[in-house]
Structures are given as C-alpha cells and as structure tokens.
Point group: C2
Chain length 414, copies 2
C-alpha cells in the first residue's frame, strides 16, 4: 500500500437523513486532524459540486459549528441525485472529476449516500484505477431505507425508526381517548424495502403500536387487508395500521396506483377521496366498516426529525465518517464502511470495510423470518434487530426554544 | 364563602393536547393533598363518565404513575365531545349529574377542555346554583387552538407551537439540500383561529421558517396567493408556505371545498390530485409555476407530540390544574383558570380566575396587529407573544428508547 498525501473531498448525495451530517462531522473532524490530509474540501451538492468545481474549505469553518453538524438534519453540504454514466460509454464526467481532483491534488474522496451514491463511488474508484490516478475512494453509508447490502444496518435508519415508533405511540394514545375508536392508517416511506414501516411495530414494545403492518416485501391483497382490519376493529373497537408506500399486488402494481377505483367514498364536501395511499386505504375501510378513519403520511418528517434522533444512530453515523477517513489513509479504496454487529447481548457494533462492487445497486430486503406467519406484523426477531438502534436521546443545543443548527461559512475555492 | 368538604371529580373533554394530562396531574396531586377533599375521582370520558357513573379512584393510583402524566400526551382519563342541552329545555342530563354527585358527595368538579367544555362547565355550575346544590365548578383550559377568551394563552398551545416550528425548520433544511428548490405547503390545524399556523413563523427566528403564512382571520384570495408564491419562488428558487386548514374566500367558502375545480394537475400515475388543502394548493402551484411542490399535513401529530413539548407549557398546564383545585377549595365556582402575563421582560405568567359566562363559546382570534401589512406573514408583535411559550425542553423518562407513559390502574367505583 502506497502512502498518499494530499487533499480530500467530502460530498453528500441522495435523500437526506437526520444524521447524515453526523457522518460528515466524523469525516471532517478526523480529516482535519490527519497529517496526511493537507486540505479538507466540502463538495457543494455532491458530485455535482466536483463537476462544477464548487468546493469549500472546511478548515475555514468554526470548530463549534462543525460539531453542531452532529445534531443538524438534512445535508449541510447540499445533496444531488446525479447518476454518472458508464465510463465505457461516456468518460466526460470522469475526465472532469479527474481534472478537478488533479488541480486540488485530491488524494481522498469520501461520498456519503445510499445505493446510487455507492454506485457513483464505485465508478469513480474504478476509473481512477484504470487511469492510474492515486486517490482512495470510500463510501459512507446513509439511508433511512436501511437497504444497503453487507452492512448490519445503515446510519439514518435508527433515527427515522425512533421517530416513527415514537410518533405512532403518541397517535395511538391520542386515538384512544374517545369511547368510540377509529381506524388509522400510517403511510411510511420505503418503496421496495419495508424496514422503516416495520419500525412502527417497535411502539408495541411500550403497548401503543400498530395492530397490522404491511411491507412491500409481500404481495398486498386488498381483500385480505380489509378482512384483517375488520377482524381487529370488530374485536378491539379500533385499529392502527402501518403500511409501506411501496405495497403492491401480486402482479406488481402499486396499490397507490389503484386510485379512485378503490373506494367511492366522498368526503364531507362530496368530493371523491383520492390523495395518497393512506387516505385511499382509509376511505376503503370507511366504506367497508363505517368506522371513523384517518390516513396519516409521515412525509418528509420521517427523514429529517433530528429532534427525535437516536443517540446510538448519531454516534454510529459519526463513527462511520471517522472510519472512512482512517481506512482511506491506511490505503483502502473502492470500499464502503459497514456496520458489523457483535454476537450476543448487550448490543455492540463495529465498522468494517466491504468492496463497493458487492454493495452498489443491491437492495437488502426485510427477511421473511422477521415477520409473523400472516405477513401482517413483525415478530420478536425484528424487535431484537431494530430496538438497539433507537436507543438514547439526542441532546442537541437549543436557541430560543428551537434547535440550534450548524451554520457553515462555506468559503469556496473559486 | 361556605367551606365545602367532600369528594371531587376531574374530567377531560374535547381534542387532546400534549399537556392536558399535566393539568390533570396538577389537579389530582393538589386534590389528593387537600384535607377538604375526601376522595378524588377521575371521570372516564369526561361528562359521559359522570352520566354513566364511570368514576375511578385516583387515590388508588401509584404516585409515580400519576407524576408521569406530566409527560404523557392525549387524555389519560378519556375524552368526549358530548354537548349538554340547555337546562331550560331538557334537565335530564343535569338531574343525572346531580344524582351521581350526591351519591358520591361530590363537592368539587374540575373540567379540563376547550370552548365546548367551558360551556359544559358553565351550564353545570349554573344548574347547581339554581337547584341549590353546593358544588364548586372550575374549568381548566386546554386547546392547541389557543382560542379561549380572557386568558393570555391556553395550555397545549405552546407545545403544539413548538412542534410546528421545530418540524417546519427541519423540513426547511431538508427542502434546501438540492440546487433546485421546491414549494412546500404546510397545512396546520385551526378552523377559525390561526394561532397555530402563525406558530410556524417562529422558525424564522432561527432562519428556517416559512416565507408565507395564511390565517383564517383574513379572506384567502387564490390569485393573490399564487402571485405571492410566484414572487418568492422566482426570487429565492424555493418557497415554504404555512396555511391554516380553515382558510376561506371572501364569501366564507373554505378553500378546501374548492376541490378538483382548483387544479387539473395529474400525479405521476395520471390521477387528479385532490386530497386535502395542502396537496390541492401544491397542485395548483405546480400547475402555475412548474415548480416541484409538496403538501404536508401535520395531522394529529401537532396535538400529541409530547416528545417535542414545551417545558414552559408543561409547567403552566400543571399550574392551571393546581390553581383550579386551590380556587375551588377557597370557595370559587363557575370560573375558569386563566393565564395573565406579567408586564415587561423577562416573561412571567400567573393564574387568575374569570367567570365562565365570559368565556364559554367565545373564540379569540389572532389580532390584525400581529400580522404584516400584506396579511401573508407574522410580525415582531406575534413573535414577542408566542416565543416565550415554546421555551424549555421536556425531560420525559424513556423505556427502551421510547417514551415511558403513565399507566393508570383506573379502579372504578362500580
């Protein structure tokens, strides 16, 4: 392994999470302290910032503000959804990246994102190998979807899971205050993997969770769904349902595409109820049971609610950023930092590196073994897996009763 | 004033809040310690629990669990939306209440709720006066709507306001991560009074708040709304809008009733976008500007998110419950506990009593003086009013990374 000395670039990509900035904080602080790293650049809007030479000098930021990144949600460096073309078809972007990296003598590149970002990382690393440019490229995982391969779990998932489980428990209490109960349907993010929807079930650990959980891993049968809800509602007088935005029928058609054919229920003003999946399913259940129903979408809140972040997640996200820098300096490239869970209790977790080639574009689904036999609820195996990830409260600083977020100066190079 | 000795009944009514149980906690703990109060009964589901004789003995609860009520959202005693008839038309309910109260020698009645509940309180107090039954009746305010008369503000408002402002700031950060901005429309509760929608503007104090705020206090002009949004969006590249669910046009028609006539925009699947007000307005803006838009409804979360409650609100809600019991024992009846703000800085607040007759069925609106001249934003007067109410973080106990809520035994009398 050759020792590299030079600048590093850190970028963020894809949908943000409550703790993606904690990873960046771990990477920046570690890089600033490392003698082999001469400059630490942030790329504005991920790889787009590299292409456009929008790089800012992290060494000019106040340390206090950098540390506040640990509790600042969203992508403080700016994000993008830019997908690099295959270098065999079109080398334009790669040549430009190389040009910019050469100009600033960049020898380390850290990219913080989900599946697509790991693909970007892998392509860049492969290109540098091909052209013989010495630059170590390490992916730092993040995604509330928790669907990256090789890693036990992804930074960002624990906080989103904690927010979902906490909010579901609060709404469960709220929904139980009248003597006549209702049916509430929660629509939760996760187009192909149900990890986040499954997290709603953690609220059952304190007795205020969903009665039914539907993941996109299993075909969604509308008639069975109605029977499931009716059974719970007639027995308990209320029913809480967590459903993934990505549920689809046996033929693969998304239930959210069924639209107005699903239920003809009108709202108080005589309009057809359509809107999102949650409100569509709520209208269907209202039509079938006469129950008072409500659809609730957690929308963007589930990925940015830093006020309800998991301390475990914040610390692990930081550790992932730190490990990325340390591994790159130690000579690793074309790898992603992954979490490996220790055997037995209590929960422990350490970082290891996996080849990006094994990770890029692979989606990790919730295994059957974590669901009940009816595929409408989670079991103990899932709880053992997920519960450790939501432990601990974040103690973020506040200002006037509101969160105090990091304020970066972003002194650009050009 | 006659000194009364006997039992008390405490009930909750109307939509719950994050801190309504803190008021009940204040009332129960104070009543249990008072020598003039022989028994402390909770009424299951408010006045319905009295009518059905569903009373439980608070003296049989564990003190530790009772104290957890301070950080438990929703109505732990159960709520109702039962409206008493005018006693001049129908005395049935009143006679039944009297019968139950006489059976248990109830001499104090505390009712924790909003406008309708204060009406119930007032009617019961008047009836007891008429028939000469000695029982002191005190209303304990609660409502996220903040629309009760005579009081500076209502318990429940500060926590809902803190949740809204915090969540808006988090989403503002999230929405700003891409180089292409978007238009996000937040739909916030408050059919007739815009206090809660106005609270979104508090997020501007930390630089991440809405660009535009629309309250139901002013007629909502759709064309002006589109012009306002376009102006911000074209200047900044993004626009965040907080809009009250109750906005209506000059003729009084709710904008949410406009439905599909408003925008013909289809979603990705070719369906008309209808749904709620937020998504309807988002579709309209998308049609007019081509911007990426999103409608977000805070739904039930804004009234039950105890995980983001204001410490000030929790403590004041407790104080209101305590003051109710102390005032009743001191001989007051047919009154509501109200908050009076001290002059000048720093913020201070004490409780006083106001006649229920002045309060019942009066709605307090946001005054013009708290809005900007264009009526699309809040000004400094509003910030000075609302900011003190969201101060302080709740330090609720947790269990397995989730909130530890009060668990009541509810030992019923029959």
């Amino acid at each position: 392994m050759k020792e590299l000395k030079g600048a590093c670039v850190i970028g963020q990509s894809g949908g943000p999470t409550a703790v993606i900035n904690s990873s960046v904080c771990g990477a920046v602080m570690t890089a600033l302290a490392n003698p082999n790293i001469t400059k630490v650049y942030g790329a504005q809007n991920g790889i787009e910032g590299v292409l456009k030479e929008r790089l800012f000098d992290c060494g000019k930021e106040d340390e206090k503000e950098l540390l506040l990144l640990k509790s600042t949600p969203a992508a403080a460096f700016g994000s993008c959804r830019y997908k690099l073309k295959d270098a065999r078809q079109d080398e334009t972007d790669y040549k430009r990246i190389l040009e910019v990296f050469q100009k600033y003598d960049v020898r380390y590149f850290f990219y913080n994102g989900g599946n697509d970002s790991m693909d970007t990382c892998h392509k860049v690393a492969q290109y540098f190998k091909k052209v013989g440019y010495d630059c170590n490229v390490i992916g730092i995982p993040k995604t509330i979807d928790n669907d990256l391969a090789c890693t036990d779990h992804c930074p960002g998932y624990g906080s989103a899971a904690k927010y979902i489980a906490t909010s579901v428990s609060e709404i469960a209490l709220d929904a139980g205050v009248y003597d006549r109960g209702s049916v509430i349907i929660f629509e939760i993010m996760g187009r192909n993997a149900g990890w986040l929807t499954a997290a709603a079930a953690l609220a059952n650990e304190i007795g205020h969770g969903p009665d039914l959980v539907y993941l996109p891993e299993n075909p969604f049968d509308l008639e069975q769904f109605v029977r499931d809800v009716e059974k719970v509602y007639y027995a308990k007088g209320s029913c809480l349902v967590a459903v993934s935005e990505g549920v689809h029928d046996l033929a693969g058609k998304y239930i959210s595409e069924y639209g107005s054919n699903l239920a003809q229920t009108k709202d108080a003003f005589g309009h057809s109820q359509m809107g999102g999946l949650a409100s569509t399913l709520a209208a269907l259940i209202k039509e079938k049971t006469g129950a008072k129903t409500r659809g609730i979408e957690f929308s963007l809140l589930q990925r940015c609610a830093a006020h309800c972040a998991s301390k475990t997640d914040i610390e692990e996200a930081f550790a992932a950023g730190k490990a990325a820098v340390e591994s790159a300096v130690a000579g690793r490239t074309d790898c992603m930092v992954a979490f490996v869970r220790g055997e037995g209790e209590p929960y422990s977790c350490h970082t290891e590196l996996f080849d990006l080639g094994e990770i890029a574009n692979v989606e990790k689904k919730v295994p059957d073994s974590m669901m009940n036999a009816e595929r409408n609820g989670m079991n103990e195996e899932f709880v053992r897996y997920a519960l450790p990830l939501i432990q601990g409260e974040c103690d973020r600083p506040t200002e006037q009763g509101l969160p105090r977020y990091a304020k970066l100066k972003k002194v650009f190079t050009v």
